[in-house]
């Protein structure tokens, strides 16, 4: 479970997060929507511990991680770019975090192999990133995070650079993994359809704080979510077609 209390962050005079409160139950996913530059990435990076908040409390499964090192939080950040290491093959990329932790070789091999099987990657184990498609690269990036058995997964538009078909496939894969591994996740996206597909709840970030919506009706009523505008666009389009 993630609990955020009164989180604030400024860059110079610009205040991107102001007294933000957020709760995400264990094993659930919150889709985060909002305008560009609205502080979504900052929020995720602060929770991961790779950026620092000015004030506020971050609790993961009841433990205060407001000041702990990034690696001790078990909260892994997945970037929009897969950021695979070009000098490592698929197996080595997935095993990266385990290797840093100096995991026993047999355990490392077993866990990485299992993860590759879950992601349907075994036939690509010896390939290097430049030999993979966009979707395969993002699956490897997922594997690298999931093999660490995260308590929290922080996804920053992970499918933003993929084509529509691959994106839909990755969303289904995400849902399957989320069900199997029961991780808690915050999923930033600009795509409303994606937000509705992957999220159990929806958060709309505006003016540095966020509104939580438990269902589509509530999200629809929030003008900042853009859902109402999207629905009315498509209904007008279909009526005119």
């Amino acid at each position: 479970m993630i609990e955020i209390e009164k989180l604030s962050k400024s860059y110079g005079r610009e205040r991107v997060l102001r007294d933000l409160d957020l709760q995400c139950e264990r094993g659930s996913t919150i889709s985060i929507l909002g305008k560009s530059g609205g502080g979504k990435t900052s929020l995720l990076k602060i929770i991961a511990g790779i950026a620092r908040q000015d004030t506020g409390i971050i609790r993961i499964d009841g433990v205060d991680h407001s000041q702990t090192k990034s690696s001790l939080r078990k909260a892994y950040y997945i970037f929009q770019e897969p950021l695979l290491f070009p000098h490592l093959n698929v197996f080595q990329n997935i095993a990266f975090g385990l290797k840093l932790k100096k995991t026993d070789k047999t355990v490392l091999h077993a866990q990485t192999t299992t993860m590759m099987e879950m992601l349907e990657l075994p036939e690509h184990a010896t390939k290097y990133p430049h030999e993979l498609s966009g979707g395969q690269k993002q699956r490897v990036a997922f594997g690298r995070a999931l093999v660490m058995q995260p308590q929290v997964l922080l996804l920053d538009e992970p499918f933003g650079a993929l084509d529509t078909e691959t994106r839909a496939m990755m969303q289904q894969l995400y849902l399957r993994l989320s069900g199997e591994l029961n991780f808690t996740a915050l999923f930033v996206t600009h795509d409303l359809k994606e937000a509705l597909t992957v999220g159990d709840k929806y958060a709309v970030l505006k003016n540095g704080s966020c509104d939580i919506h438990n269902g589509i009706e509530s999200l629809m009523a929030d003008k900042e979510s853009g859902l109402e505008a999207e629905v009315s666009f498509w209904s007008n389009y279909m009526n005119n077609a």
Binding site: S71, F85, P86, Q92, L100
Partner: protein, 258 residues
């Protein structure tokens, strides 16, 4: 096919001085307007006094200069690149390269005398760093992109310590740049004459100083011979470097899977 010939011609024309040097060195008689010498002779460079020492000195100055400037430039640029005032630091880095090296040496010569560094190897190495370090710094600055910053954050997120960051991220993903920087700074130092002769006051006889000495003595043939000694090793190194790069690329495809 036409393109191949065109580029081969360009390669030949631009490397013409390299081909002419041995003729100059071996010429016994070369009357104008002949394109090549009419008679040849063998001039052994072994008889030149202090040549071995000059080669050793040039190598030591250039190798240490290249190593120091590359490592310092790399580390410095990484520290500065993600600073919010990074553009100021970059501009400051360009300033030493605006002056010609000899003017630069002249303007700072007073300080070299004051600290007793004139006419010393250490003084020359320090003088060369005034050019090499900004060059390495500017070359490395372009390496630190937003994507690289994300890689750094990713390794931090996965718990890499400093040594692991260097081993798994910084070195493998920067080695091409490091080798390029090392090679370029070595060449700048290897071919430097202005700073070496000014700060060294002609007392520290590197290969370039030796060439100039023979030119002053109007012994163009030996000057050409020593010039060949200066120019050919880096050219061979460049060819070797390209072959090595090809070899490494081949080896990489043969690496075991896990």
């Amino acid at each position: 096919m036409g393109n191949k010939w065109f580029f081969n011609l360009l390669y030949f024309l631009f490397s013409l001085p390299l081909w002419m040097l041995p003729f100059f060195w071996m010429a016994a008689d070369w009357p104008f307007p002949n394109l090549f010498p009419t008679t040849y002779t063998v001039r052994s460079l072994a008889g030149i006094p202090g040549l071995g020492q000059s080669i050793g000195l040039s190598l030591a100055i250039s190798l240490s200069g290249a190593l120091i400037s590359t490592l310092t430039g790399f580390i410095l640029s990484k520290e500065v690149a993600y600073h919010r005032h990074h553009h100021h630091f970059l501009l400051i880095g360009y300033l030493p390269l605006l002056l010609s090296p000899v003017l630069y040496a002249m303007s700072l010569f007073y300080f070299f005398i004051m600290f007793g560094l004139d006419a010393t190897v250490v003084g020359i190495m320090l003088g060369q760093q005034l050019i090499l370090l900004p060059y390495a710094f500017i070359l490395c600055m372009g390496h630190w992109t937003d994507t690289f910053a994300n890689y750094l954050q990713l390794t931090e997120n996965y718990g890499a310590n400093r040594i692991q960051k260097v081993r798994y991220l910084l070195f493998p993903m920067s080695k091409k740049l490091l080798f390029l920087c090392l090679f370029q700074t070595f060449l700048i130092s290897w071919f430097d004459f202005a700073i070496t002769s000014y700060i060294g006051v002609g007392q520290v006889k590197t290969l370039t100083v030796l060439v100039y000495q023979y030119l002053l003595e109007a012994d163009y043939y030996f000057a050409a011979g020593i010039s060949a000694l200066i120019i050919y090793p880096p050219v061979l190194l460049l060819i070797f470097n390209r072959l090595l790069a090809k070899g490494l690329a081949f080896l990489r495809t043969e690496l075991p899977s896990t």
